[in-house]
Symmetry: C2
Subunit: 298 residues, 2 copies
Amino acid sequence: MKKIVIFGVGLIGGSFALALKKAGVETQFVGVGRRLATLERAKELGIIDVASSSVAEALVDADLVLIAAPVAQTGAILASIAPHLQSGTIVTDAGSTKSDVVAAARAALGAKIAQFVPGHPIAGRELNGPDAAIADLYVGKKVVLAPLAENAPEDVERVAAAWRACGAIIHQLTPEKHDGVFAAVSHLPHLLAYALVDDLAKKPHADLLFEYAASGFRDFTRIAGSSPEMWRDISIANQSALLAELDSYLLQLTSMRTALAQGDGAALEAVYANAQRARLNWQQRIESAEKQNKEGGD
Amino acid sequence: MKKIVIFGVGLIGGSFALALKKAGVETQFVGVGRRLATLERAKELGIIDVASSSVAEALVDADLVLIAAPVAQTGAILASIAPHLQSGTIVTDAGSTKSDVVAAARAALGAKIAQFVPGHPIAGRELNGPDAAIADLYVGKKVVLAPLAENAPEDVERVAAAWRACGAIIHQLTPEKHDGVFAAVSHLPHLLAYALVDDLAKKPHADLLFEYAASGFRDFTRIAGSSPEMWRDISIANQSALLAELDSYLLQLTSMRTALAQGDGAALEAVYANAQRARLNWQQRIESAEKQNKEGGD
């Protein structure tokens, strides 16, 4: 590879560059972004070699483009890329939703859609920006690729190989399946945690409530400390899948409300016990997978 | 003090005894419980000095009785205590709900109700039983006392002093206020976490969902790993306060569902941003309080 272009040199894009450099991938890293100070900082930190304010220049002879900017900007970035996209360049992204990104890519890239391979690295930290970027962010983490029917297998493999070089494990899902899965295990929990904290904070005795909140509350609501703008964008971008999961959860809560109102301890216990069992199984599978990854890496 | 009697020598009762011993309180610790093996183990571990299977014998000349058995047993334990309760003995408990315990105490103790000072230590570990008991479980933790109008101030102080000797910080709430607060910050989050895991586990593609659940899901659902029997009892014991909080939360979710269905990102962001702000403030208050506690203790 000669050139990798990264739109958004923060935590996700910056860590991608640092990981590839650490893996010994010899290529030029070009950063593109709206804020010059961020690009300069990324250069200082050794994340990128060149800070570019021209999409046209940046894209000349690029092998791979990663879009790692806030997901709401993806459409505009793809539109700015389209006229300068050479036939040998593959574009991928790191957005948390995929159906909307695919729709935006089809609209922006038109006949060049085969050059876009949608992706989603499942990794993060509570920090943002280039200073938060670390070379081992993706080690042992999943990256979901959601290839299109138009993608050539070797182009999908080029993206997969880059993420594998970062230490990630490649999974594949269709965009629709991806969005359904993450609506359930990520987007809905965020919405529920925000909902609880806001609900308590609006009550007249909120101060008294928060005074007695302890470690269970802290863990349950940790994700309510996430960026409101980012999660607004994700919620709207994944509207229909999130709505389906929320409706399923509302049905579940309504049936538990009935059990509670009737003093039906057995019905509540059945839900609690099934949940405890499922969570324990999940945790054991996670732990054994982590152990295998570690052993494989030694 | 000459004698402290503990019903239930597991994590909560056992840690109370170990903490008082560490603080140099010279008294005889008598354990009472349904399972002889547990009592013998507590004796081996130095938690109690005497294992008793006779409530009548155990209560002779007792200064303080702590009921730290599962909350559903509290009524039966109070009834077994009542006929043997001498006038100089104070009884307290460690139950997670208070209104129902007070009602059970009034029914069981009758004219001796003034000798019962309701309590709730806000501390725990993910382990149970005497082997989980540790001397510093209560250091810097809150203990909420919910005194009755009938309690003499010096009796409330006797209970408070024992918990203070364990390193705890004493708070006071009425039983009703206590139950309202913990319904909101503890009981409802438990119900919501159980609800989500069970909802996902029941879906036909549950395995696929759990495969992509990550650290946000792990923290959000950690409390769904708690004992189903214990949380069934707490839910039913605190039925009316929990129902009120659940209804408030259902209203909140229903209004967020409307915003989502309408694609109203601004309305969702307002909830998310208010929640993020409230949680950040809470976390800062917690951290500054912990710092003060540490400085005070040095």
